[in-house]
């Protein structure tokens, strides 16, 4: 199944032909990375309601390093990711010691305060007007597609490594029972911060890529609640703590959203809310969980 998925993803731009379809592919891949980024953090039992903070940090860092120092966009994107990771490390050490709920509240505040900061620091960020940059790869969207596909490959690889290494045990132990985990010699804060930094790096890279792909960023967009919501609903819907789940969630939901955007211009995000509530109440293991259950019952 993985092979089929990989080959489809590789030849996709050649099959579809239309640039709109390639653009949709890029958007879906971006959200697939974001949703895997959320999942890496979720494995330690932490819910970030403010992934937009990391996304926006990556976006602004990438754009500003390009604008002020003339750094190559591709390098700037990775700098954006690194910057988000470093900030996440500091933020994580400060807030991940306390109970999970407070971390969730802190993340949503983090995104909101960065939005205010970006709006007010006009000299640097251009305020509400935002910043414009020339398109990445001179607007060649096939190149953009392969770039973001490679980034997704990297994310999947990291996620796989976590899954197969002893990190998986540490993360799961912290998620299931933090006290027991720390008695067993696992330092919960250390692992939580590690997962948050990894999550931040990929989220920040996507933010940087988004900035150069869309060619302009404004605080309301990149630090907006819409991005945080998408980051959270997609993996929950697809199935948390798996590799397929977040991918599947991003593909399905982004396609649905694109369809809805044209039919309901305002408030189409309501679907995200409904899906979130239904997922939590009736399918806590997501689509992947449902499918697995079906298979096991048949056997």
């Amino acid at each position: 199944m993985w092979g089929a998925f990989g080959i489809t993803a590789l030849v996709y731009p050649w099959i579809v032909g239309s640039s709109y379809a390639v653009h949709m592919g890029i958007v879906i891949l971006m959200y697939a990375i974001l949703s895997m980024g959320f999942d890496i953090l979720a494995r330690t039992g932490q819910v970030s309601v403010g992934q937009a903070a990391l996304f926006g940090l990556g976006a602004y860092c990438a754009v500003l390093t390009f604008e002020k120092f003339g750094i190559d966009p591709v390098l700037a994107i990775f700098l954006g990711g690194l910057f988000a990771g470093v900030v996440a490390a500091g933020f994580g050490f400060a807030t991940l010691r306390i109970r999970g709920i407070y971390f969730s509240i802190a993340t949503i505040c983090f995104a909101e305060s960065l939005q205010v900061l970006a709006l007010m620091a006009r000299g640097l960020t251009g305020g509400a007007i935002g910043v414009s940059v020339p398109p990445i790869f001179d607007g060649n969207i096939t190149a953009s597609y392969y770039f973001i596909l490679a980034l997704l490959g990297g994310t999947i690889l990291v996620s796989l490594i976590i899954d197969k290494s002893k990190l998986n045990f540490a993360f799961t132990a912290i998620r299931e029972n933090e006290k027991v985990a720390s008695v067993m010699g696992i330092n919960p804060t250390k692992y939580k911060v590690l997962s948050f930094v990894l999550s931040a790096f990929f989220t920040g890279c996507v933010g940087g890529f988004y900035a150069f792909y869309i060619t302009y960023i404004i605080p309301y967009e990149v630090f907006g609640i819409g991005i945080s919501v998408a980051c959270l609903v997609m993996p929950v819907f697809g199935g948390l703590y798996t590799i397929e789940g977040p991918l599947l969630g991003a593909v399905v939901l982004k396609t649905v959203e694109e369809f809805l955007r044209t039919t309901i211009p305002y408030g189409h995000m309501i679907v995200y809310g409904v899906i979130l509530v239904v997922s939590v109440l009736y399918m806590p293991a997501g689509i992947v969980g449902l499918v697995k259950k079906r298979f096991l019952e048949r056997e």
Partner: protein, 286 residues
């Protein structure tokens, strides 16, 4: 300066009412209700429509919005909160966040993103006390907020109030003592929703009504809750005053202050969580 202090104090009443609803649910049920801000938003719309369609004065629509919100609250409790009461905190956050997204976007679909406001005969009136000018509408909201808080203090002393506190301390022990925990939760959630509705009416009097208003107010309430410590009415009041007054000062004295003031509550939350996670009241949180 006095004027600026007075404005800060007056707005803090509204903040306190929003926060008290949030603490009620968190204290008794142990659930962080991310949808509480949306309760406020719904309350504000009830008041707005009651005023625009039937000419009902906002103050008279207080019981109406409280009642509507109790109905909304009970149905949300019954179909959403109850099944996940003993689930992980993780799932509870996701669920209430989902409800908040639904309510916000339902409001966007129904009423569009327009900023609406009510103008009553008294909304432009003000009273001068020495050098200070106090808007009548603001004074009214503050008065109602103070009354509600006192009511809540009295309520905590009644039999039902004591039962709620027992449930919040130890769910199992309370059940063994013959307290109906499910009923206690319904009561707590209804009171919280009613407080949200009332806060909505109050905010419709003094600010714009729009679908996303709940998000901002809800986050301010989180800031106050974290600063004031959980389940502590006095802590909540003091924290509301701190937030209200500091917002007013920043808004008045900094260049482009009102923009910065919006970020103040978030900065406050981050500072408290980082340096003193127990809040000013010093209540220990597990």
């Amino acid at each position: 300066m006095l004027q600026c202090l007075a404005n800060g104090v007056l707005i803090s009443g509204l903040y306190a009412v929003v926060t008290l609803g949030l603490t009620m649910v968190m204290g008794v049920m142990g659930i962080v209700n991310f949808a509480h801000g949306e309760f406020v938003m719904l309350g504000a719309y009830v008041t707005y429509w009651a005023f625009t369609l039937w000419g009902i004065d906002p103050i008279l629509s207080l019981p109406l919005s409280a009642g509507v919100l109790i109905l909304v609250g009970i149905s949300i409790y019954r179909f959403g909160i109850k099944p996940i009461l003993s689930a992980e905190a993780f799932e509870q956050v996701l669920l209430t966040f989902g409800i908040s997204i639904i309510l916000q976007n339902a409001a966007l679909i129904l009423w569009k993103a327009d900023f609406r406001s009510i103008s009553t005969p008294y909304s432009d009136m003000s009273i001068a006390i020495g050098p200070i000018n106090i808007g009548l509408a603001r004074l009214l909201t503050f008065g109602i907020a103070v009354m509600l808080t006192l009511l809540l203090v009295v309520f905590n002393k009644t039999k039902v109030g004591k039962a709620l506190r027992a449930v919040s301390q130890n769910r199992k022990a309370a059940a063994l003592m013959g307290i109906n925990v499910d009923k206690a939760y319904i009561i707590a959630f209804s009171i919280a929703a009613a407080l949200g509705g009332i806060a909505g009416t109050l905010s419709a009097l003094i600010m714009y009504v729009f679908p996303l208003m709940g998000g901002k107010l809800g986050l301010k309430a989180f800031a106050i809750l974290i600063l004031g410590g959980l389940g502590n009415i006095w802590g909540t009041l003091i924290a509301s005053l701190i937030l209200g007054i500091s917002e007013s000062i920043v808004g008045t004295y900094l260049p482009q202050g009102s923009g910065w003031a919006e970020g103040l509550s978030f900065a406050l939350i981050l500072t408290v969580l980082i340096f003193k996670p127990t809040g000013i009241a010093g209540v220990r949180r597990e």
